[in-house]
Amino acid sequence: MNLRRLFWDNPELRRNLSLELTAGRLLWTPAFLLVAVGLCFLPDQPVKDLVQIAQWVVVGLWMVGGMVWGGLRAAQSVRSERTERTWDSQRLTAMSAGEFAVGKVFGATAHSLYLQVVLGCFWAVLSFMRFQLDPSETTLRAAVIVPTTLVVGSIALYSLMVAQSFLETDPARSAKSTLFSFGVPLVSAIYLASHFWSDLLIERQGWRAVVGDSKLVSWWGVSLPGPELQLASLLLFLPWAWFGLWRALRRDLQHADFPWAWPAFLVFTGAYVQGFSTAFPGESSRVVPLCMIPLAVLGWGFLLTENIDPMGLRRLVDASGSWRERLRLGIPFSWVTMPLVAAASFVAAGVWWLGDWSDASEFWSLLAGVGLIALRDLILFTWISCRVPLARQGLSRMALLVGIHVFLPVLTMLVSVKFHLVWPYPQDIDEIDGPQMVLVNLGSLGAQALLAWAVLGPSLWRRIREV
């Protein structure tokens, strides 16, 4: 990798920097921020309190100016080029996907990054002042952790926003809409998930014995305080955000896809979540399927949101009979994720079942049931993607989701029929045990999956062949 070409000689970065960092902005940005922070020191209160207020103001400005404003700029960077029809000219140059990625993430958001640098300087001064007044370890840690988390979070958000520009299929969708419906929730989810785990593991009464009074979270045997764990989590996923952007760019530039990228991300995420199971020594078998949570969330998430183009499927079918060419074209995320969910569910169910039959009689069938549901939903939602007009797909997906995962279970519960016949979730029927339970618990789900494939499969195939 040519780092000089990637940064110093990067034409897109230089173009954006020259447009973003004008002399006026370079002068007025620190002046404005200085006034905003300076106003915090006007009230007649103890200096310690004023410094704390100023620090909160800096964090607020960082969130608004650094994350929201910068995120918007990132989301607009490619979108505006597409609107103004300059993007195809850029695509016809010899610039690499890496150069575009750096140029967009650090160039289009240069003003926001400059603002963050200035705010970082203010934060350093305020932290120094606070440390003079309150020389505690907490103050020292906050001085480093807070700005680092904000910078890492911003860059992850920018990367996701630029990447999302390539995946966006609705040209009318605004950058603001993309930011608030996709970017902010995703970065917040990573942060909040780690916060949730640390909070849960530290504060819950029953688990305090595990983590003791240290307020440290155990993750793959490494003990970390909550804020450090959250920062580490963002740092762990930042390369994936970059990789996602790079991959989206490569696809847009007509390069070959990386077929292993998506499964690798899922395995990585599963391993990340699984790391928290080490907080339960001796009970690891109970939390083995922890890694299934992100797998299922991402799997169904993409199944609900991904627009699977029947032309893309046709192209995969017609790819000269070459699997290499098919992988190069890029298989829809759902078609990678959901079979993975199913496979992982069956493997986990098998391991559980073989390990401890009596203790795990409920859980192994739940896992196997998830796998069958994944297979059933894969064909149902793909069929909607290919058969229902684009404008009605969102509503159709939501209606189907509510119907089969909420309405039907509630209905069966209300009428008290034999749940396992229609219930889309595996049942635990105490009075039945042994091989008979396999049939009872999973028979209905297996039949549903089989029926869905038998009925919708040929229809989907016809649709693919006729486009």
């Binding site: 173009r15 029809r85 300059t86 000219s89 850029q90 016809l92 390069h255 032309m311 017609d318 006729e466």
Partner: protein
Amino acid sequence: MISVTDLVYRYPAHLALDGVSFELPRGSISALVGPNGAGKTTLMKCLAGLVRPWRGTVTLAGIDVVASPREAHRHLGFLQDFFGVWSDMTVEHCLVHFARAQQVPQDQIPQRIQQTLALLGLTEKASALSSHLSRGQRQRLAIGQAIVHRPEFLILDEPASGLDPEARIELGRTFLRLRDEGMTLLVSSHILAELDQYADRLLVIQSGKLLQSERLTGVAAKVSPHRDLDIVLSSEAATWADRVAGWETVEAVGESEGVLQLRLRGSDAEQVALLARLISQGAPVLEYRLREDSLQDRYLQLVGGKS
């Protein structure tokens, strides 16, 4: 040389390109013509590596465009029918960006910029914001962006649309200058009379199929084993028509309002010999001209015959 083999591209319920194959030699200007929706733009995008064909190969200077689009872009310039230029950048800044993006060596960039500005007549506008340019000037800037790295191939989709007559004539001259510098151009346009000015090859595409790929000589005269001549006589045209009908190189004869219309088999030598024979036998020749099909005639003949 651009070589296209069995190119197929599909849109929903529509085959945009259906087994298109052709070759374009270096240093030529080829006119790509066809009705709306014939597949011209899709073909150009496939050539430029902007879209991936369903089947087939595109080779450009020995580079497989489908397998290595970025490598091919270093040898290629492409002006799309709907193009954009950055309105907040100056003409020079736009060109510098594309020169850098195409990896023109840093020390050569100022010279390339000056050459490109001069070639396109934009030297005086170098420091103007592109938002302040006229439509024709923006068009030339977009061409400049596409050629600043001196590509071997230049593809232009409807480059003259929206231009006034003067700007169109100037654009044609620019294309001839680029060809003279060794560039190979493929130009799509609906304005056939304009293509007549500079094109030396004709590609006709209809419903995704290539109807014809042929070389034009002179101004749109197709290479053919025969040529049509109009000979204006001051008198006795009908008599002379009867006399020349039996000559061995004459394939067909007609007469209309004093004009003797001959279809001659052969090349320049036979044409010279025919004129010499007419004059030596006392024909009162006032005017003697080769009757050429215009590119428009040729196009209508091809498309009309197939539709």
